[in-house]
């Protein structure tokens, strides 16, 4: 149903120089749904996320988020929309001169009038949610790659977003932490009815978090299916991606 569509790509084309990254992509994401985007490197998965958050604009076609065209949305409305969204960056993208806790606190300090004690309480709560209760005062260089990513996740969640975009949430994490992140994404989606778009390479991730999986290749969707169906698919491109031949 159209009313439930939160994110819509309508025949989106995006090229960087001569390289076409998205080639007529059409896609709907519904409220409360967790959509996983898979695909080989360089097929436009992260570019898809950046269109949703308004960091990139399509060359042609439209990207609608909550019914608003991301190309024509006024700056003020874009800022208001982004405040309802969270984004987990592939490498964390933490501000280096702020402690882990202050990184998480940043959107609250910049965009709300909350008291310091309340900000600290919320930040601590989110850090505990990502299993990092003792890192508030640690600086980013003191954290491992996985910890930085989890701090970034805490920052994405601290404003209680309605839409969360995850760019490779498991990369660089050990299997145990990776699974805990997967479970967290699922829990958030279920408890808070968060709409999520997850870019991932891992079947283990889609098995836990996804309601739907799409495989992107050459800038368009090869297969759009529920996770069980996706994993069992006999589509040659999907098979080659999930179970590449050894020689």
């Amino acid at each position: 149903m159209d009313a439930e569509v939160v994110i819509r790509f309508e025949n989106v084309r995006k090229a960087f120089g001569k390289k076409v990254v998205l080639d007529g992509l059409s896609l709907d994401v519904h409220r409360g749904e967790t959509l996983c985007v898979m695909g080989p490197s360089g097929t436009g998965k992260s570019v898809t996320l950046r269109h949703i958050i308004g960091l990139l604009q399509p060359d042609s076609g439209r990207v609608l988020v909550e019914g608003q065209d991301m190309r024509t949305i006024p700056r003020k409305d874009l800022i208001a929309l982004r405040k309802r969204m969270g984004y987990l960056w592939q490498d964390g993208a933490l501000v280096n001169w702020l402690s882990a806790g202050e990184n998480v606190a940043l959107p609250l300090r910049e965009n709300t009038t909350l008291e310091d004690a309340e900000i600290r309480r919320r930040v601590q709560e989110r850090l505990e949610l990502v299993h990092l209760p003792d890192v508030y005062d640690k600086m980013p260089p003191e954290l491992s790659g996985g910890m930085r990513k989890r701090v970034s996740l805490a920052r994405a969640l601290v404003t209680d977003p309605e839409i969360v975009l995850y760019d490779e949430p498991n990369t660089g994490l050990d299997p145990e932490i990776s699974m805990s992140i997967n479970l967290l994404i699922r829990e958030l989606a279920r408890k808070l009815n968060i709409t999520s778009v997850v870019v991932t390479h891992l079947v283990s991730c889609i098995r836990v978090v996804a309601n739907r999986v799409v495989l992107l290749d050459a800038g368009s969707i090869v297969l759009d299916a529920p996770p069980e169906e996706f994993v069992a698919s006999e589509h040659p491109r999907v098979k080659r991606f999930l179970r590449p031949p050894h020689d």
Binding site: I53, L55, I79, R82, K83, M85, Y87, W89, Q90, D91, A93, L94, V95, N96, W97, L106, P107, E110, N111, S152, R155
Partner: protein
């Protein structure tokens, strides 16, 4: 011809970006109090850490000016004018220029590298997505700090430069310190038209103020448009220092022309 045209267009585009960034900062001047902690950090990084360099270079430049002019003035028996020449040249030109050059090299480069690294590691995009006003959060504190630091360091540099010149005048040229400093102070007595402080001093400080803003805007702009990993950060840093110094030289000439053309 095509390449020249492309370079010209690129120059116009960059200048436009820098002017726009400056206007954006002006529109956020009311955020200054909110950003006081960040401004304090920038004042420390930009001020305390380069203070000794400014003092050392200014001191030695004062000594050199004193020695070079003193030798020539001694030949015509005018060595009592050494104080005047050192004071005027430090206050009008040497002080602001030396300070601006050191700030461009030491602070502007660091600033471009810092913002450039943020750009290539997607921290700038992350701030944008978090709805953090990057101009207010990143550029305003740096610009404010450099606009304050440059004149402050210039005053200190002028002072030690004149003192350095005095020491050389006394030890190498046999000019008494009292005579030297009387001459220097007399030289800086010409009152300003609008401001009740000596004209040479306030024009020097005005130049420094403008140079501080130019260095901040050029360096922030270079840093924030960085792309292409470590190589891009290197290029941004080089461009920040090069463009800052070129602009300081050009503006210095036009400001000198504007204020002293009728003298």
């Amino acid at each position: 011809m095509k390449r020249i045209l492309a370079s010209l267009l690129e120059f116009v585009r960059l200048t436009g970006e820098q002017v726009e960034l400056f206007v954006q900062v002006l529109l956020r001047l009311h955020h200054t109090w909110k950003r006081r902690a960040l401004i304090g950090d920038q004042l420390y990084v930009g001020g305390i850490k380069v203070l000794h360099v400014v003092l050392l270079v200014s001191f030695s430049m004062g000594m050199v000016v004193s020695l070079q002019t003193g030798i020539e003035l001694s030949r015509i028996g005018q060595q009592d004018q050494i104080g005047l020449i050192v004071a005027v040249s430090m206050a009008r030109e040497m002080g602001p220029f030396i300070t601006a050059t050191i700030l461009a090299a030491a602070v502007g480069s660091a600033l471009a590298a810092e913002l450039g690294t943020m750009a290539v590691s997607e921290e700038l995009s992350a701030l944008e997505v978090l709805s953090v006003d990057r101009t207010s959060y990143l550029v305003l504190p740096r610009l404010f700090a450099l606009a304050v630091l440059c004149p402050t360091l210039t005053v200190l540099g002028d002072t030690v430069g004149i003192v350095g010149g005095g020491l050389v005048a006394r030890s190498q040229l046999g000019v008494g310190l009292e005579l030297y400093f009387d001459s220097a102070i007399d030289a800086l007595q010409t009152p300003g038209v609008l401001i009740p402080i000596p004209k040479d001093v306030y024009i020097g400080l005005l130049k420094s103020f403008v140079f501080g803003i130019v260095i901040a805007i050029v360096s922030c702009s270079a840093g924030m448009r960085t792309s292409g990993g470590a190589l891009g950060v290197g290029n941004a840093t080089r461009a920040a220092v090069r463009d800052s110094i070129i602009l300081v030289i050009i503006l210095n000439y036009f400001m000198t022309w504007a204020f002293y053309q009728q003298n």
